[in-house]
């Protein structure tokens, strides 16, 4: 039986009079790829921020192996933020060196350069990178300290189809390494390809939870987007539509 690495109970987050996350309960098993699915404003990024330890919940809890988040939690997780700027004028090489310096036992830079295919633009100003190159660099930075859990917040948003599929390959490799991956997305195809378990969110609440196949089969629909539409009357962006 798989071990539960993160468990969420009664999780809530409010900003002034807006409730972004409204009572979530779920568990994430070690080594799985767990997806938070929903349209913009569903509460995905806020939920992810609380799982990352970057935001404090208004109510409820996030537990790590059944205990409160440890003080060195940040060294056990790697985070690829949705929109992260890097320092101007620094190259991917400079950034890898900088972030490696923050940890005691980082992954060797050569290994990261190889794994994330950074060699061709290793000494290019980060501001001149393409979207896909930038995401690969950000993922390498998130992995620099060999974390147990990797958080990916809409990792392929804004990427062209080729770059998106390249990144899926990278993420699949991370899965094969046995890491626990937690990602948010509003692309159905991405969720179906990458995720072992999904939570579909709307207005901060859980609509459904299960494996992608199980959700589609149980609802008797052809895909997740149709399922979401039938549940909420709202549509999610299909990857195929974006590609076309």
């Amino acid at each position: 039986m798989s071990e539960v690495i993160l468990s969420v109970a009664g999780l809530e987050k409010s900003y002034d009079d807006v409730t972004a996350v409204d009572g979530l309960d779920f568990e994430i098993e070690k080594g799985e790829c767990f997806g938070l699915l929903g349209p913009n404003g569903a509460g995905k990024s806020t939920t992810l921020a609380m799982l990352e330890g970057m935001e404090e919940p208004t109510a409820g809890s996030v537990r790590y192996y059944g205990a409160p988040l440890p003080s060195d939690y940040q060294t056990r997780v790697g985070i690829q933020f949705q929109a992260t700027a890097l320092q101007d004028f620094l190259t991917p090489f400079d950034n890898l060196k900088l972030f490696s310096s923050f940890y005691d036992d980082p992954i060797p830079m050569d290994q990261l350069i190889e794994q994330f295919r950074l060699k061709d633009f290793l000494h290019r100003d980060s501001r001149r990178l393409s979207g896909g190159q930038r995401q690969r660099l950000l993922l390498a930075l998130a992995l620099v300290h060999n974390p147990e859990i990797v958080f990916l917040d809409e990792p392929t948003t804004g990427l062209d189809p080729r770059s998106r599929r390249d990144l899926w390959d990278v993420v699949s490799d991370l899965k094969a390494d046995g890491r626990t991956l937690i990602l948010t997305t509003h692309y159905m195809e991405e969720a179906e390809v990458l995720c072992d378990e999904l939570v579909i969110l709307s207005h901060g609440k859980t609509l459904l939870q299960g494996t992608p196949e199980q959700l589609i089969t149980d609802a008797g629909v052809s895909d997740l987007d149709t399922l979401f539409l039938s549940l909420t009357g709202e549509t999610l962006v299909k990857t195929q539509e974006v590609i076309e």
């Binding site: 933020f81 320092q87 005691d104």
Partner: protein, 336 residues
């Protein structure tokens, strides 16, 4: 590796990264060096002619002053005796007058022709007993007086904007949030920013100081090491002030406004371009709460009057106070 060793390693990494960013930004780097040099040369050219044909009298007591101060073409400034005599020895004023108990004390600079003329006029027009004092000292050129002001102004802009604006830009772009997700602490990040900008500020100031002095040969009679200490403390005080401004600010536009609100009074009231000796007392008192005032008063005392450490200790103490308050506020209030 010890906790301190790890902390130093992280600080060093951020320090190097910030320096790389600055050095590769050739436009900013060049401007930091070129701008003050241009101003120094422009002022040297503009004020290169003989002094204006206007007599300046500095008064110590304002009641029952001699009739001479009302003469056409005579400008008067009121200040305390110590400052007045300093001005006289630099020939920034032609005569110092103090009216006390039915008599008039006056001082002239033995090297000043204008002072001799005013002395003659005073003896002809004043009926009260006169008591004469004399100082000496060569006249200083405007460029001698203004160079510390320009170096200080450049340091102020470099320190405040180079840290304050950059930290807000990092925050707005999400870079600070990215750093928050690492073991880097607030103290390490802020210290690295301070040290990096201090290196830049001191290097730029040194290059401008040496470069312009080679050509303009302005007055520098005091200890170069003391001047360096003033630059070090002044730079730190203003960098930490910049950090305090940026510690929670999220908008670059708001940061712009705050930084202008801090730099503009210093530009006008700290004595960058002209002496505040003749200004109202409240202006002079307000100027004392501005770090640049202490940098410039200390720097001019060293450069023009050969002041020693004890002479400028009060200014250095105030600057150290600014550093502690600025850094303390920054660490306490800083938001990634």
């Amino acid at each position: 590796m010890s906790a301190v060793g790890r902390s130093l390693r992280r600080m060093k990494a951020v320090f190097i990264a910030r320096n790389l960013e600055y050095l590769r930004d050739r436009a900013s780097f060049g401007w930091n060096l070129v701008f003050p040099v241009l101003i120094v040369f422009a002022l040297a050219v503009v004020f290169s002619g003989p002094p204006r044909a206007l007599f300046t009298i500095t008064t110590i007591a304002s009641d029952n002053l001699p009739e001479l101060v009302e003469f056409p073409g005579v400008e008067t400034i009121e200040t305390d005796r110590s400052k007045a005599l300093d001005r006289l020895s630099r020939q920034q004023t032609d005569l110092v007058i103090e009216a006390v108990d039915g008599s008039v004390n006056y001082w002239v600079n033995g090297n000043s022709a204008s002072g001799a003329i005013l002395e003659l006029l005073l003896t002809y027009t004043e009926t009260r007993p006169l008591k004469r004092g004399e100082t000496d000292g060569d006249a200083i050129r405007y460029v001698d007086w203004v160079v510390p002001g320009i170096l200080g102004m450049n340091m102020m802009y470099s320190a405040l904007w180079g840290v304050g604006y950059v930290v807000v830009r990092y925050r707005q772009s999400g870079y600070l949030r990215r750093l928050k997700a690492t073991p880097l602490t607030k103290f390490e990040f802020l210290s690295a920013q301070v040290l990096s900008r201090l290196l830049v500020t001191l290097t730029a100031s040194t290059i401008v100081f040496v470069g312009t002095n080679l050509i303009l040969d302005y007055k520098m009679v005091g200890s170069i090491w003391l001047l360096f200490l003033i630059a070090l403390m002044g730079g730190l005080a203003m960098i930490t002030l910049g950090l305090a401004i940026a510690c929670r600010t999220e908008s670059k536009e708001f940061a712009d406004g705050l930084l202008n609100a801090v730099t503009f009074p210093m530009l006008l009231l700290s004595g960058v371009w002209f002496s505040l000796d003749g200004s109202p007392e409240w202006v002079q008192m307000f100027a004392q709460v501005l770090p640049l005032t202490h940098v410039l008063e200390a720097a001019r005392a060293v450069m023009l009057d050969n002041a020693g450490f004890t002479d400028i200790a009060i200014h250095l103490t105030v600057l150290v106070g600014f550093c502690f308050v600025g850094m303390g506020l920054s660490i306490k209030l800083f938001k990634w």
